[in-house]
Amino acid sequence: MDINMSKLTKDLGKIVGKEHVFTDKPTAVVYAKDTMPWDVEEKNIPYAVVRPSNSQEISKILKYANEKLIPVHIHGSGTSLVGLARPKTKGIVLDTARMKKINVYPERGYFEVEPGLHLVQVKKELAKYNALLPLFPGSELVATIGGTVAVNTSAHGVDAALGKPGDFVLGFEVVLPTGEIIYTGTESTRRAAGIDPTKFFVGSEGLLGVLTLLRIRLLPLPYFKQIVAYYNKTEDIIDTVMEMYKQGIHPPLFYEFLDERAAKIGFEAVGLEEPIGAVAMMRVHSWSKVGSEDKAQNFLKFLQVGNPIEAKIVEDIDEWNLIWSSRAEAGNYMYRLGMTFGSEISPRVDKLREAFHEAQLIVKNLKSYNNAEFISFGHIGAPTIHAYAFIPTKDISNDLKKALTLEMREKTEDLNIKYGGCGGEWGLTAQRVSFLKKKYGESLYELLVRMKKALDPNDILNRGNLQGWI
């Protein structure tokens, strides 16, 4: 595509102000990079980064992009772990960082927020109203609320305990790919039955529109109780999770674990005594203090089913913070020692044990790298298996980084298909296309393409993600 750069700069400058348009290469490279392990390539580097402040400006940008047939890639904070955030083709990056307004309306039972506000800032604002933000990604320091709802991620939260972000969204202002501004949903706390276009945009990954205002239900802050359980082996934790669902026990809001290796790394990293084996950490919630205490006691009793070495309620919040942070630190420290190539398998619950064993075999038998080490930690109660291949060096080529990523992706896709999963929250379109075709067939994939085309006839927004481009 031939682009007249000076005209592009001038045209975009007329829409958002010239100080909010960047066409220099250093800025473009910074916005092209995401957390995927290989370097940015020329095709990823956008022509321009444009930073609008409201939906009218976004509307004009998208109308302009349609007229000129230039792809537009939406950028929140670029924290997606699975490639969603990297532009797949040259175009305009639309950064939502200047859109950070928030208004809380306790008398209406909701708050309204623009997409670019970081989750930690939303939490801070809601805390003034004793309200919970029901979104729990590990990247909350910088992840934007627009991006989190656009991918509909529960992250650390167990879906069966509280639901997914979309369950709390009452409505949106959305700019469609062709530039029309629409409003969906309700200002009541009662949502519509039947067809509610709000649902189309929850989890739409920026393929169907740009979320410019989100209206989200206010949830009262619950009471929490924390539990930690130490086990001889990971299998005991897995059996406990399977039994929890089988017995119909209400799951904790957070149910994380560290396998034997990750527990050692994570506990050492935060200065705790090295555990004997694997560790599970849980957080139960209730809308009353008595309820949370009762729930924690009951769950503690239930945990005996998995023969833990020790299981206890953690009252000391400092101790809990250390235990909880060991999980994030395990990941950080592994990355300091080398590289990790991750995956997500979210199997049918009664197949969790089999799926975990097969995931271990996948890592041990990788073709693109011999002797990768298997490590696992994460939201086992969801259930999610994050199977990581750890290699003890960063000094490998871009090609090998890609090969390892793709081999892990392909083989864990097969496991998700075998055991009834969907790839969980790492199952986003940027890495999901081959999975969709394998699991559901060409017809379903074609349906998604037709849906996209109905809203975005020129394939302007986030081009390449639905095509499976890398």
Binding site: F22, D24, K25, P26, T27, V29, V30, Y31, K33, D34, T35, D39, V40, R51, S77, G78, T79, D95, A97, R98, G116, H118, V120, S139, L141, V142, A328, N332, Y335, R336, K394
Partner: protein
């Protein structure tokens, strides 16, 4: 600094910056990022990426690049954040060394290239 030493410095920088996961956790603590109305190349993450792509030849020295690297105030808040939540990189020091390479003309670019 002779050619051998400057190469060694470039290699060290590349090796250190390779540890950055591009998590961007450091961006919000940077006063220059806040003052720029949240432009990512005015953040610690952005400066590290720019430095990496400058040294590996993807970028060349130009005004926006200099503006980004020199917007660092060396306050070190990113170091503390990276230690607590990231990869324990000495971000401010890496940027300082990058600026030194620039000032000595030891990177590719029209202005002062010696390499």
């Amino acid at each position: 600094m002779d050619i051998k030493e400057s190469q060694s410095l470039r290699d060290t920088l590349l090796k250190e910056i390779a540890k950055c996961r591009a998590c961007r956790f450091c961006i919000d603590v940077c006063p220059a990022y806040q003052a720029s109305e949240w432009v990512e190349n005015m953040s610690p993450y952005g400066r590290l990426q720019i430095l990496k792509y400058l040294i590996n030849g993807t970028l060349e020295e130009d005004d926006p690049l200099i503006y980004s690297l020199y917007s660092c105030l060396q306050c070190g808040r990113c170091d503390r954040l990276c230690k607590a939540k990231g990869q324990n990189l000495e971000v401010a020091n890496l940027i300082r060394l990058g600026k030194y390479l620039l000032s000595q003309g030891l990177v590719k670019g029209k202005k002062s290239e010696k390499v």
